[in-house]
Symmetry: D2
Subunit: 118 residues, 4 copies
């Protein structure tokens, strides 16, 4: 069992004992995921990109960022479980595709030509 599968299992048990599975439809979980991403954006919205790169140097900001990123991870993991998607396998499959679509020589250094990552 991978570490990620352990998190999937913990979220299942957490939801089951509280009888919260009834709320965890893909539609609802996707909304909750988006809500948490909104909170993450709020932490970064007025910073310059350079300031955002140094945000973890401030302990209070770092704690808030870690908490928001964790919330996003929790809902993403729970959503993927609800959809029976293997997050790691799906991510690697998408990167296989990105490696084909964005050959190194053609795309080096350019954000205009390609959406940098996927």
């Amino acid at each position: 069992m991978t570490e990620l599968e352990k998190l999937v299992g913990r979220l299942r048990r957490f939801s089951k004992v509280r009888d919260w599975e009834q709320f965890h439809t893909p539609k609802n979980l996707a909304m909750a995921l988006a809500g948490e991403v909104g909170e993450l954006l709020a932490e970064l919205q007025w910073l310059t990109p350079e300031e955002s790169s140094k945000i973890m140097e401030d302990p209070e900001s770092a704690a808030r960022l870690e908490s928001e990123v964790a919330d996003v991870m929790i809902y993403l993991t729970r959503l993927a479980d609800a959809l029976k998607i293997d997050l790691l396998k799906a991510a690697h499959a998408k990167l296989d595709e990105s490696e084909r679509r964005y050959p190194v020589e053609a795309y080096r250094g350019s954000a205009r030509k390609a959406p940098p990552l996927v």
Copy 2:
């Protein structure tokens, strides 16, 4: 090395050889993450919650959902790396907190009292 750490490493190499690290500030990655979550919402927005629970039965919808969920995972993993946050550790820490805040007996079955998960 965990499976998730392997994905982190692959994303680092993918970005480095294309010289795309310059675009991957926390601010930019958080926006890209939100953009991908938006695409995920678009797949589910007109479905009822019940229809959303069955969406993976349709092969075409399933492929699109898997692709969108993968994109979200990729940007979340890359963002967490940029912020030096351990996704799994952060998620478990947040769940420790949720278990304390939402004792089973008090919160069973209720979405009114608590935001179900975190």
Copy 3:
């Protein structure tokens, strides 16, 4: 001067006297807009679509919804001003296009064929 133009003007003055114009780049305002939309989603995420249709019957929920919708409107108005986009003109132009793309007879009652609105 339309009512919307009055809001644009009020936001300009509000920002100027506080010297906050420096933060109001399109990039930052788009993030703030997304953050506010995230808060709006959070109000609706665990409701069924039917419950969401009745949410304004509860005075406390109604006040929160009104506040979140207002925040979204404020950032959208400010963003459009920063981009020199006329919100009403742009919306009508988009609807002209939707009316051509989705002829009434072909699309009546179907959310599968078309993204209902734009």
Copy 4:
């Protein structure tokens, strides 16, 4: 009738003749709104804040931005109508509050102390 009320009316008729009102619950419309905001973010995600301030100088980017901003306005207007919220009145009420909470002298020039706008 204000210009905004005319847009509200046009959206009502557009939806009614296509029998799409059935899809326009607050929950669904909020998701669609978030999806459109995601597309807007995607246009700005790899730009620096400075580049984002000049994006309308490029005609192709300007057309895309105008289209995305229009989509957001359309769904926000439709959502507010579904919730029976007067967008302009709600925005002004929120700004009344912001003017009280953020007195000019105390907040001038600072994004740390206050979320700049609301």
